[in-house]
Symmetry: C2
Subunit: 334 residues, 2 copies
């Protein structure tokens, strides 16, 4: 059996209280006593039982993240970076990170319910918000703190929002200067906030630059490279195909690049392609992909910080806006 606080106390002829306080860094313990305790604890390999502590303190010291439903979409570097950020930051604060993966909408819902009701997590980080996302109402009703990358609805909660309006203006400007004119947009699922926002910024930027947008040029995928490929094949088969394809994310853009290659198009000259998110591999695609880069790792860390503050009842400034950074690469010429 693993040693308990009692074992440590017994060994030192101290009360368990003293041991507990010494280890937790209270200042009402004599310095020599503390040192003794700390040393003995380490030597015995003692470390407090999480369940007991949680039960007593009435908090889990754990935050949760649930990979959104849609198994095929998981093969995205985005989530690795995001989870790494969450794990990194929570570890720093001595919090644990609980992760699960949902199959479908139903299992997703039951996961959230189990976590919320079981007191398993003190708070949650959300991601890939949908328009009218039930999770927001659910968590708000249950009074479970949560933060989220992006925002939707009228409920107010701490979040980080991307502000891509300027980024898109810059991007479209850059693409135009390279001589491209006929724009298309390959989006994601229509109910995804990411999709709606990014498409919105794109439209705005088009208006800003006074470029006419053909609605036929707006198509949807599911954020995967395969869906990007599929969408691009269709776009390029149109009688008047686009020569500048903006994508909702980098994965989609990879698929578009592939389709353009298959068509024998010279990317960067005959057609421009751009992504969004700035995953590592975008640097090494053929040609390297122009993208609106967002610092996923840091965003995840900051979401944890905001969440922990919320949990501890501190005020949090929100929303925090992050502006993507345009990385000009050969896929858009220039």
């Amino acid at each position: 059996m693993r040693p308990t606080i009692r074992d440590v106390a017994k060994k030192l002829n101290l009360s368990i209280t003293t041991v507990s306080r010494a280890l937790d860094g209270y200042d009402d313990v004599a310095e020599p006593t503390r040192e003794m305790v700390v040393k003995a604890a380490r030597q015995m390999g003692y470390s407090p039982n999480r369940a007991a502590r949680q039960l007593r303190r009435q908090k889990a010291e754990t935050i949760g993240f649930i990979l959104p439903a849609g198994a095929q979409r998981f093969a995205e570097a985005f989530f690795t970076e995001f989870i790494a950020g969450l794990g990194h930051e929570s570890a720093l604060h001595n919090y644990d990170l609980l992760v699960s993966a949902a199959d479908d909408g139903k299992s997703e819902r039951s996961l959230y319910e189990r976590w919320a009701n079981g007191g398993k997590v003190d708070g949650l980080v959300l991601n890939r918000l949908r328009i009218r996302d039930w999770r927001i109402k659910f968590l708000a009703d249950q009074r479970i703190p949560f933060t989220s990358l992006s925002h939707t609805g009228s409920v107010n909660f701490p979040c980080i929002r991307i502000d891509g309006a300027e980024g898109y203006i810059e991007l479209i400007d850059h693409v135009c200067r390279s001589g491209f004119r006929r724009f298309a947009f390959v989006g994601g699922p229509a109910n995804l906030v990411n999709h709606v926002e990014r498409l919105g910024w794109f439209r705005q930027a088009m208006r800003h630059h006074k470029i006419v947008l053909d609605e036929e040029m707006i198509v949807s995928g599911d954020l995967s490279s395969s869906s990007g490929y599929q969408a691009a094949i269709e776009l390029l088969s149109l009688p008047d195909p686009p020569d500048a394809v903006m994508c909702v994310n980098d994965e989609t853009a990879f698929g578009v690049l592939h389709a353009a290659h298959n068509r024998g198009l010279e990317i960067g000259r005959q057609i421009a392609v751009a992504g969004f998110e700035g995953v590592q591999d975008a640097k090494h695609s053929e040609p390297p992909l122009t993208t609106l880069d967002i610092p996923v790792f840091d965003i995840a860390r900051q979401l944890v910080d905001m969440l922990l503050k919320t949990i501890n009842g501190e005020k949090v400034e929100s929303p925090v806006f992050v502006r993507p950074n345009l990385l000009r690469r050969p896929s858009t010429g220039g």
Copy 2:
């Protein structure tokens, strides 16, 4: 406050014992009573407090996974798929998955210690094993059950091992038939079991096909696409450069493709490139990447199954061997 078992009992004028048993599916509860309890519990939104249950049962009903140290490596789709698999399968068994991310060797170690000693997890899944990995000895000493993708050392533990010997023979054969002769290998860190194994199979396959291997052609990276790019630039600058570059993973191969493009080489004709792992994007690189595919999601699920069996004291057949599947794509011609 969230309802406790006591609230449910009070409402129904039953003892908490009965409620507990009714919900846990014991068979010594009258059927009408059970139904009443289940209904009331659902209606009140009751679900047992995890911490209390864990404390009482002396098990965490939680398994752990720690993203290995090396932040830049996290931007890999591999881990998203792996974690999704772990999360998926543990949720199926009503287990939780705890995830953390290590900065460096030191923080990695302290994470494992905290988890092991704190009784936070009933077991762990390992990954990216190193030669003489301290984690194995540590966990074995502490009697913490664990499973791992790949194996090293003399300690026996349940694991899934890749058997790539045949896969590499097939791959080399395929590449040779396409007319390539001068092989190179871009590996990972020298102490990584993945690296050692894959390089080993590669060497074996070369011997099998009686192809002379120039030691200068074996170089190392850190599994990232950037390191693959770097390595390839150097290889291709040699007086007698390779025309077939085999890579320890797909990310590395993406970097190699990029470098080859920069050199103006026609990939699939003038040079062959292959990866390992079969991440989604390999299908859409330019040209699509030949790779030895392994079912990462399923492997992760199976590792969880094996781990849970081990935790429950069941015997587990191990090692389980998985043979990669050669996906022939244009990056190797043919």
